[in-house]
Symmetry: C2
Protein backbone atom coordinates (compact mmCIF):
# COMPACT_ATOMS: atom_id res chain seq x y z
CA UNK A 1 0.00 0.00 0.00
CA UNK A 2 1.39 3.35 -1.04
CA UNK A 3 1.11 6.61 0.91
CA UNK A 4 -1.22 8.10 -1.70
CA UNK A 5 -3.77 5.40 -1.22
CA UNK A 6 -3.91 5.83 2.51
CA UNK A 7 -4.47 9.56 2.09
CA UNK A 8 -7.09 8.97 -0.57
CA UNK A 9 -8.93 6.51 1.64
CA UNK A 10 -8.95 8.96 4.53
CA UNK A 11 -10.47 11.69 2.38
CA UNK A 12 -13.60 9.57 1.94
CA UNK A 13 -14.31 10.29 5.58
CA UNK A 14 -13.05 13.85 5.80
CA UNK A 15 -9.88 15.85 6.21
CA UNK A 16 -7.74 14.99 9.18
CA UNK A 17 -4.16 16.13 8.63
CA UNK A 18 -2.55 19.53 8.22
CA UNK A 19 -0.63 20.12 5.01
CA UNK A 20 3.07 20.38 5.36
CA UNK A 21 2.92 19.10 8.90
CA UNK A 22 1.29 15.69 8.93
CA UNK A 23 -1.35 13.95 10.99
CA UNK A 24 -2.00 14.30 14.68
CA UNK A 25 -1.82 10.59 15.47
CA UNK A 26 -4.04 10.70 18.52
CA UNK A 27 -6.72 12.71 16.77
CA UNK A 28 -6.56 10.44 13.72
CA UNK A 29 -6.84 7.33 15.90
CA UNK A 30 -9.86 8.80 17.68
CA UNK A 31 -11.50 9.49 14.33
CA UNK A 32 -10.95 5.94 13.11
CA UNK A 33 -12.20 4.53 16.40
CA UNK A 34 -15.38 6.53 15.92
CA UNK A 35 -15.77 5.33 12.33
CA UNK A 36 -15.36 1.71 13.34
CA UNK A 37 -17.94 2.09 16.06
CA UNK A 38 -15.53 0.97 18.76
CA UNK A 39 -15.56 4.14 20.81
CA UNK A 40 -16.83 2.24 23.82
CA UNK A 41 -16.40 -1.44 24.70
CA UNK A 42 -18.72 -3.50 22.52
CA UNK A 43 -20.36 -6.59 23.99
CA UNK A 44 -19.96 -9.74 21.88
CA UNK A 45 -21.14 -13.30 22.46
CA UNK A 46 -19.48 -16.48 21.31
CA UNK A 47 -21.45 -19.56 20.29
CA UNK A 48 -19.74 -22.95 20.19
CA UNK A 49 -17.08 -23.78 22.77
CA UNK A 50 -15.21 -26.52 20.96
CA UNK A 51 -11.56 -26.40 19.98
CA UNK A 52 -11.72 -23.14 18.10
CA UNK A 53 -14.30 -21.57 20.41
CA UNK A 54 -12.19 -22.22 23.49
CA UNK A 55 -9.18 -20.69 21.82
CA UNK A 56 -11.17 -17.59 20.90
CA UNK A 57 -12.48 -17.34 24.46
CA UNK A 58 -8.96 -17.30 25.84
CA UNK A 59 -7.70 -14.95 23.14
CA UNK A 60 -7.00 -11.56 24.71
CA UNK A 61 -6.61 -9.64 21.46
CA UNK A 62 -10.27 -8.66 21.20
CA UNK A 63 -10.42 -6.55 24.37
CA UNK A 64 -7.51 -4.54 23.19
CA UNK A 65 -9.52 -3.53 20.14
CA UNK A 66 -12.61 -2.59 22.06
CA UNK A 67 -14.57 -5.83 22.19
CA UNK A 68 -15.67 -7.80 25.21
CA UNK A 69 -16.89 -11.39 24.98
CA UNK A 70 -19.57 -11.12 27.65
CA UNK A 71 -20.72 -14.73 27.44
CA UNK A 72 -20.27 -17.98 25.55
CA UNK A 73 -22.89 -20.60 24.72
CA UNK A 74 -22.69 -24.29 23.99
CA UNK A 75 -25.07 -27.23 23.73
CA UNK A 76 -23.07 -29.16 26.28
CA UNK A 77 -22.63 -26.40 28.85
CA UNK A 78 -23.47 -27.32 32.42
CA UNK A 79 -25.83 -24.68 33.86
CA UNK A 80 -24.34 -25.15 37.32
CA UNK A 81 -20.80 -24.60 36.08
CA UNK A 82 -21.78 -21.76 33.76
CA UNK A 83 -20.43 -18.98 35.95
CA UNK A 84 -17.18 -20.72 36.84
CA UNK A 85 -15.57 -19.46 33.68
CA UNK A 86 -14.89 -15.92 32.72
CA UNK A 87 -16.63 -15.24 30.46
CA UNK A 88 -19.34 -17.67 31.63
CA UNK A 89 -20.31 -20.59 29.38
CA UNK A 90 -24.09 -20.99 29.31
CA UNK A 91 -26.34 -23.57 27.68
CA UNK A 92 -27.97 -22.37 24.46
CA UNK A 93 -31.32 -21.66 26.11
CA UNK A 94 -29.88 -18.69 27.93
CA UNK A 95 -28.77 -16.98 24.73
CA UNK A 96 -31.84 -14.78 24.04
CA UNK A 97 -31.88 -13.52 27.61
CA UNK A 98 -28.22 -12.46 27.61
CA UNK A 99 -28.48 -10.83 24.20
CA UNK A 100 -31.45 -8.80 25.34
CA UNK A 101 -30.08 -7.80 28.73
CA UNK A 102 -26.61 -6.83 27.52
CA UNK A 103 -27.73 -5.25 24.26
CA UNK A 104 -25.46 -7.56 22.25
CA UNK A 105 -25.31 -6.81 18.52
CA UNK A 106 -22.42 -9.05 17.41
CA UNK A 107 -21.83 -12.79 17.66
CA UNK A 108 -18.89 -15.06 16.93
CA UNK A 109 -20.07 -18.35 15.46
CA UNK A 110 -17.67 -21.26 16.07
CA UNK A 111 -19.93 -24.30 15.77
CA UNK A 112 -19.65 -27.20 13.29
CA UNK A 113 -20.90 -26.47 9.79
CA UNK A 114 -23.82 -28.82 10.27
CA UNK A 115 -25.19 -26.71 13.14
CA UNK A 116 -24.23 -23.27 11.88
CA UNK A 117 -27.39 -22.28 10.00
CA UNK A 118 -29.64 -23.37 12.83
CA UNK A 119 -27.63 -21.41 15.39
CA UNK A 120 -27.56 -18.44 13.02
CA UNK A 121 -31.36 -18.53 12.87
CA UNK A 122 -31.47 -18.33 16.65
CA UNK A 123 -29.12 -15.36 16.56
CA UNK A 124 -31.22 -13.63 13.92
CA UNK A 125 -34.36 -14.18 15.97
CA UNK A 126 -32.66 -12.38 18.87
CA UNK A 127 -31.91 -9.40 16.66
CA UNK A 128 -28.16 -9.89 16.24
CA UNK A 129 -26.86 -7.47 13.59
CA UNK A 130 -23.47 -8.99 12.75
CA UNK A 131 -22.00 -12.50 12.72
CA UNK A 132 -18.34 -13.45 12.55
CA UNK A 133 -18.69 -16.92 11.04
CA UNK A 134 -15.99 -19.57 11.37
CA UNK A 135 -18.16 -22.39 10.06
CA UNK A 136 -17.32 -23.45 6.51
CA UNK A 137 -20.75 -22.75 5.05
CA UNK A 138 -22.49 -19.76 3.48
CA UNK A 139 -25.07 -18.52 5.98
CA UNK A 140 -28.46 -17.46 4.73
CA UNK A 141 -29.36 -14.19 6.45
CA UNK A 142 -31.57 -11.20 5.71
CA UNK A 143 -29.98 -8.28 3.89
CA UNK A 144 -29.69 -6.04 6.93
CA UNK A 145 -27.52 -8.55 8.78
CA UNK A 146 -23.78 -8.55 8.07
CA UNK A 147 -21.81 -11.79 7.97
CA UNK A 148 -18.01 -11.89 7.97
CA UNK A 149 -16.59 -15.28 7.05
CA UNK A 150 -13.28 -16.69 8.24
CA UNK A 151 -12.46 -20.00 6.60
CA UNK A 152 -9.12 -21.38 7.68
CA UNK A 153 -8.96 -24.07 5.00
CA UNK A 154 -9.53 -21.46 2.29
CA UNK A 155 -6.72 -19.34 3.69
CA UNK A 156 -4.36 -22.29 3.33
CA UNK A 157 -5.59 -23.00 -0.18
CA UNK A 158 -4.97 -19.40 -1.08
CA UNK A 159 -1.38 -19.72 0.15
CA UNK A 160 -0.98 -22.96 -1.70
CA UNK A 161 -1.85 -21.29 -4.99
CA UNK A 162 0.72 -18.54 -4.54
CA UNK A 163 3.67 -20.71 -3.51
CA UNK A 164 3.62 -22.93 -6.56
CA UNK A 165 6.98 -22.84 -8.32
Amino acid sequence: MKPTQLRKDLTYFGQFGTRGLGYDVEQLAAMITGLLGTRRLQPVILVGVGNLGSALLRYRGFEQEGFEIVAAFDLNADPRQARQFKPPVHPMEKLPEVVRERGVRMAILAVPGTAAQEVANTLLACGIAGILNFAPIVLQVPEEVTVNNVNLAIELENLSYFIQD
Copy 2:
Protein backbone atom coordinates in the same frame (compact mmCIF):
# COMPACT_ATOMS: atom_id res chain seq x y z
CA MET B 1 -21.41 -13.16 -6.81
CA LYS B 2 -23.25 -13.49 -10.07
CA PRO B 3 -23.03 -16.43 -12.48
CA THR B 4 -21.28 -14.31 -15.12
CA GLN B 5 -18.41 -13.57 -12.83
CA LEU B 6 -17.78 -17.16 -12.01
CA ARG B 7 -17.70 -18.04 -15.71
CA LYS B 8 -15.44 -15.08 -16.42
CA ASP B 9 -13.05 -16.10 -13.69
CA LEU B 10 -12.89 -19.65 -15.01
CA THR B 11 -11.99 -18.44 -18.51
CA TYR B 12 -8.74 -16.98 -17.14
CA PHE B 13 -7.60 -20.56 -16.70
CA GLY B 14 -9.18 -22.13 -19.75
CA GLN B 15 -12.47 -23.55 -21.00
CA PHE B 16 -14.05 -26.21 -18.87
CA GLY B 17 -17.74 -26.49 -19.62
CA THR B 18 -19.76 -27.47 -22.65
CA ARG B 19 -22.17 -24.87 -23.99
CA GLY B 20 -25.80 -25.65 -23.54
CA LEU B 21 -25.00 -28.49 -21.20
CA GLY B 22 -23.02 -27.15 -18.26
CA TYR B 23 -19.95 -28.17 -16.34
CA ASP B 24 -18.82 -31.66 -15.50
CA VAL B 25 -18.51 -31.10 -11.77
CA GLU B 26 -15.89 -33.75 -11.17
CA GLN B 27 -13.73 -32.57 -14.02
CA LEU B 28 -14.09 -28.96 -12.92
CA ALA B 29 -13.16 -29.85 -9.36
CA ALA B 30 -10.10 -31.71 -10.56
CA MET B 31 -9.03 -28.70 -12.59
CA ILE B 32 -9.37 -26.36 -9.61
CA THR B 33 -7.52 -28.79 -7.38
CA GLY B 34 -4.69 -28.73 -9.86
CA LEU B 35 -4.68 -24.94 -10.02
CA LEU B 36 -4.58 -24.63 -6.25
CA GLY B 37 -1.68 -27.03 -6.06
CA THR B 38 -3.53 -29.39 -3.77
CA ARG B 39 -3.52 -32.40 -6.04
CA ARG B 40 -1.66 -34.41 -3.44
CA LEU B 41 -1.60 -34.01 0.34
CA GLN B 42 0.57 -31.03 1.18
CA PRO B 43 2.70 -31.16 4.32
CA VAL B 44 2.31 -28.13 6.59
CA ILE B 45 3.90 -27.30 9.93
CA LEU B 46 2.41 -25.29 12.76
CA VAL B 47 4.51 -23.07 15.02
CA GLY B 48 3.15 -21.96 18.39
CA VAL B 49 1.01 -24.36 20.38
CA GLY B 50 -0.84 -21.89 22.61
CA ASN B 51 -4.60 -21.41 22.70
CA LEU B 52 -5.03 -20.78 19.03
CA GLY B 53 -2.32 -23.19 17.94
CA SER B 54 -3.88 -26.07 19.88
CA ALA B 55 -7.25 -25.36 18.32
CA LEU B 56 -5.72 -25.38 14.86
CA LEU B 57 -3.94 -28.65 15.61
CA ARG B 58 -7.21 -30.32 16.53
CA TYR B 59 -9.06 -28.75 13.62
CA ARG B 60 -9.91 -31.43 11.08
CA GLY B 61 -10.92 -29.10 8.27
CA PHE B 62 -7.45 -28.87 6.77
CA GLU B 63 -7.04 -32.52 5.84
CA GLN B 64 -10.30 -32.44 3.99
CA GLU B 65 -8.86 -29.73 1.73
CA GLY B 66 -5.62 -31.55 1.07
CA PHE B 67 -3.34 -30.33 3.83
CA GLU B 68 -1.62 -32.34 6.51
CA ILE B 69 -0.11 -30.75 9.59
CA VAL B 70 2.87 -33.06 9.86
CA ALA B 71 4.35 -31.50 13.00
CA ALA B 72 3.96 -28.64 15.45
CA PHE B 73 6.66 -26.68 17.24
CA ASP B 74 6.73 -24.73 20.47
CA LEU B 75 9.34 -23.24 22.78
CA ASN B 76 7.92 -25.16 25.72
CA ALA B 77 7.60 -28.54 24.07
CA ASP B 78 9.00 -31.46 25.99
CA PRO B 79 11.27 -33.48 23.68
CA ARG B 80 10.36 -36.71 25.47
CA GLN B 81 6.63 -36.11 25.04
CA ALA B 82 6.99 -34.82 21.50
CA ARG B 83 5.70 -37.97 19.84
CA GLN B 84 2.80 -38.54 22.22
CA PHE B 85 0.63 -36.18 20.20
CA LYS B 86 -0.52 -36.59 16.66
CA PRO B 87 0.80 -34.54 15.04
CA PRO B 88 3.86 -34.51 17.33
CA VAL B 89 4.80 -31.30 19.15
CA HIS B 90 8.54 -30.72 18.96
CA PRO B 91 10.78 -28.07 20.51
CA MET B 92 11.81 -25.32 18.09
CA GLU B 93 15.27 -26.76 17.50
CA LYS B 94 13.81 -29.63 15.54
CA LEU B 95 12.10 -27.36 13.03
CA PRO B 96 14.80 -27.18 10.32
CA GLU B 97 15.23 -30.92 10.35
CA VAL B 98 11.53 -31.69 9.88
CA VAL B 99 11.13 -29.04 7.17
CA ARG B 100 14.03 -30.51 5.24
CA GLU B 101 13.07 -34.14 5.64
CA ARG B 102 9.39 -33.71 4.82
CA GLY B 103 9.87 -31.09 2.11
CA VAL B 104 7.56 -28.67 3.89
CA ARG B 105 6.78 -25.47 1.98
CA MET B 106 4.01 -23.95 4.10
CA ALA B 107 3.84 -22.96 7.77
CA ILE B 108 1.06 -21.78 10.06
CA LEU B 109 2.34 -19.14 12.47
CA ALA B 110 0.37 -18.93 15.72
CA VAL B 111 2.85 -17.37 18.13
CA PRO B 112 2.51 -14.08 20.04
CA GLY B 113 3.14 -10.93 18.01
CA THR B 114 6.34 -10.28 19.94
CA ALA B 115 7.89 -13.54 18.74
CA ALA B 116 6.40 -13.67 15.26
CA GLN B 117 9.14 -11.94 13.25
CA GLU B 118 11.88 -13.97 14.89
CA VAL B 119 10.08 -17.24 14.20
CA ALA B 120 9.37 -16.08 10.67
CA ASN B 121 13.08 -15.51 10.15
CA THR B 122 13.73 -19.10 11.21
CA LEU B 123 11.11 -20.30 8.75
CA LEU B 124 12.63 -18.23 5.96
CA ALA B 125 16.06 -19.63 6.71
CA CYS B 126 14.63 -23.13 6.24
CA GLY B 127 13.28 -22.17 2.84
CA ILE B 128 9.57 -21.99 3.69
CA ALA B 129 7.67 -20.50 0.73
CA GLY B 130 4.35 -19.52 2.35
CA ILE B 131 3.26 -18.43 5.82
CA LEU B 132 -0.27 -18.30 7.17
CA ASN B 133 0.21 -15.67 9.86
CA PHE B 134 -2.15 -15.31 12.82
CA ALA B 135 0.10 -12.89 14.70
CA PRO B 136 -1.16 -9.30 14.62
CA ILE B 137 1.94 -7.84 13.00
CA VAL B 138 3.13 -7.25 9.45
CA LEU B 139 5.90 -9.75 8.75
CA GLN B 140 8.97 -8.60 6.86
CA VAL B 141 9.76 -11.25 4.25
CA PRO B 142 11.53 -11.38 0.89
CA GLU B 143 9.41 -10.87 -2.18
CA GLU B 144 9.35 -14.51 -3.24
CA VAL B 145 7.72 -15.57 0.04
CA THR B 146 3.93 -15.29 0.34
CA VAL B 147 2.30 -14.27 3.60
CA ASN B 148 -1.41 -14.62 4.25
CA ASN B 149 -2.61 -12.72 7.30
CA VAL B 150 -5.55 -13.69 9.48
CA ASN B 151 -6.25 -11.10 12.16
CA LEU B 152 -9.24 -11.96 14.28
CA ALA B 153 -9.50 -8.55 15.93
CA ILE B 154 -9.61 -6.87 12.52
CA GLU B 155 -12.39 -9.19 11.40
CA LEU B 156 -14.46 -8.07 14.36
CA GLU B 157 -13.70 -4.41 13.69
CA ASN B 158 -14.79 -4.91 10.13
CA LEU B 159 -18.11 -6.31 11.35
CA SER B 160 -18.46 -3.48 13.82
CA TYR B 161 -18.23 -0.92 11.05
CA PHE B 162 -20.95 -2.55 9.00
CA ILE B 163 -23.49 -3.04 11.78
CA GLN B 164 -23.65 0.59 12.82
CA ASP B 165 -27.22 1.85 12.64
